[in-house]
Amino acid sequence: MTSQLPFFLAHIWLLPMFPLVTAAAMLFFGRKLKNDAINVLCAGSVFISFIFSAGSFLQLLSLPQDNRIAINVLFEWLPAVPFHMLDGGLANFVADWGFQLDPLSAVMILVVTGVGFLIHVYATGYMAHEGGYYRFFGYLNLFMFAMLMLVLANNFLLLFVGWEGVGTCSYLLIGFYFHKKSASDAGKKAFIVNRIGDAAFLLGIFMTSALLGTMRFADIGPALAKGNFEVGDPRIVAIALLFFVGATGKSAQIPLYVWLPDAMEGPTPVSALIHAATMVTAGVYMVTRTSAIYVLAPSALAVVAIVGAITALFAASMGVVQTDIKKVLAYSTVSQLGYMFLACGVGAFTAGIFHLMTHAFFKGLLFLAAGSVIHALSGEQDMRKMGALSKKIPITYWTMLIATLAIAGIFPFAGFLSKDLILGKAYEKDALLWAIGYFTAGMTAFYMFRLIFMTFHGESRVDHEVEHHIHESPRSMLIPLVILAALSIAGGWVAWPEILGGNSVFIRFLEPVVAVPHELRAEAAKGVSSRMGEIGLMLLSEGLVVCGILAAWYLYIKRTNLPQMIANRLGWFYRLVYNKYYTDELYDSLFVNRAKDLGLALGAFDRTVIDGAGVNGAGWLTRFISKVSMWWDTWIVDGSVRFGARVVWLLSIPVRMIQDGLVQSYMLLVVIGLIGFLAYYFHIAHQAMH
């Protein structure tokens, strides 16, 4: 079918290859290259793939509405093997090296390559003075490759390849400053926590292939239809839950969110690209990709929604008390991801993807701006040592302010549209979920403006030696900021809701690929809910947001000592929240230390039983046997040999006495022989005479 496809769609598989090539180049001979060459190669390759994805997106648009899908299979990865499914039917298992482009992955590749390119450009400025420049960009390009593989895969197995690839790259990049213990620990933490989710995800994949007999996304829908499972089938629920566990791992949801705040140890562009814009959203993508399964498992959907809502609330509450600027952004990322899962959980997968996109814009911008601030303050991350920077670094200030307004959800900005879409859907599903999301929105506004005020306003608390050389970042860092700011403003307009007289193009663009729960489908058939309700919801949220902003202003500009008093007032709760609800300690005491104990026990077992009894015993036995055989060799074998040699030596004594190499003794022997000969001759003659 690839034959009649236009060029870009026929060659999607090229898309991940550009970053792969440059990554290989970096990792193999990057050490030899100059920084400029590295910039051109890496950013250039990402830009090329961005152009490529834009082109393929346009060509995808040109296709007819109902089959906007392009699949090209390079080759069969695992050859077709017939096997028995759970229901006994015979299926042909096939996993091929195939790429698939449909509206969902099109959005994803646009976000990934676009934001990725901007962040590459930013990184060229941010990392300019770091060591291991080529290493950093090599990892970054490798991540781009893996992420594109992830979003372009046409089957679970290939998606899992990308899934693990991004995990590996995130590990490498978190631990980029491997000489810092905290950084390497954070990398390890991220990796291990992800392992849990990945294990579940892998189980889900197995169950899927066992149940549906296929791995291709395109075949899942038909397989489900052919298997005509009724809604709530426990096997489907199990698959859905397993997938969701995988998603929580990758996308930092409760209970596996703990790795993301620590991941802020990595360089800021990494935080922006991987831990805000792209990778952490892979879970959302995956859930959306498998929405056909989820709609058959309402209970799983409920779990997703609840977990997402609670995560959003928890993370927001933790973000309120954080003082490290990047940590604040990290918790806000977690809570925004919670929003997305909330959307998915209530069945509004398209809303989730929409929020994913807008979030990629403004959260990436926030991280980059924060990085610019840190850059300006030469490495300072603690907000209590900032303040009154708005005049000193205006561009950073304004772009960050825009992003903050966007994430807070002020009316025309992108965040407003996506978040209110989610809230609307949640309200239609369940009021409690809506309430949580609503409250979270307020907290978001509060802590984000707390960040803004503490950083840019009030009186300066910057150290003096730092004070002197505060400077605006270079142009290579500012241009991405500006572009992303523009996107944070206008990026959401592609889904301008009908209520405000728009037509949500984006939603309808995504409609064909995502499934919709039956009751929603029924409501949709029943007709749109009351306009006034939606408008009211919007106004309510705007009001709450404004309150949050004012509270932040009051606390951190007007009465700067008040936060401390509040903290003292509700001490234990503050401490609880400030210490992140002791989650890490809890996990440590529950899992980590237990695992360590298990390791110790196993180690003891190894030492005592396996090493002691087994290995050392075997060694001792071998040595004993070898001693015996050595005794045998020495005394019996060698002994007999030496005995033979001794005998020969004894027998050869006379010969040796003869063969002494002295000519005169030889002469003596000649004389002796002569005498003997003469004696014999006389004997003969005497006999002859008689």
Partner: protein, 100 residues
């Protein structure tokens, strides 16, 4: 007219002395000289018999023996010189490099 056996006994005596010298002396040069002595005894023997049988063949053989003695002395002394240059010794029982 002196009987032939007198010459034979003389040559026997010289021969025995030569043999003793060859077998017992450590100095290679004296060993060589003893060999010359032995050859000399043989010469006496030959000449005595040549007179005994009234033909000169014995003397011819004596001449050949003298020739051989000359050759042997030349080569032997050459060897001794070379050996002495390398080993600083002319003792026969220190020349045991054959024994390896």
């Amino acid at each position: 007219m002196i009987p032939t056996e007198a010459y034979l006994i003389l040559s026997l005596a010289l021969f025995t002395i030569g043999v003793v010298g060859v077998l017992t002396r450590r100095n290679v040069i004296i060993v060589l000289m003893s060999i010359e002595l032995i050859l000399n005894a043989v010469n006496i023997n030959l000449v005595a018999f040549s007179r005994h049988f009234g033909s000169v063949d014995g003397q011819v053989f004596a001449i050949f023996i003298i020739t051989d003695a000359a050759a042997e002395a030349a080569v032997g002394l050459g060897i001794i010189l070379a050996f002495f240059r390398n080993r600083e010794t002319v003792l026969a029982d220190e020349m045991d490099m054959l024994k390896w």
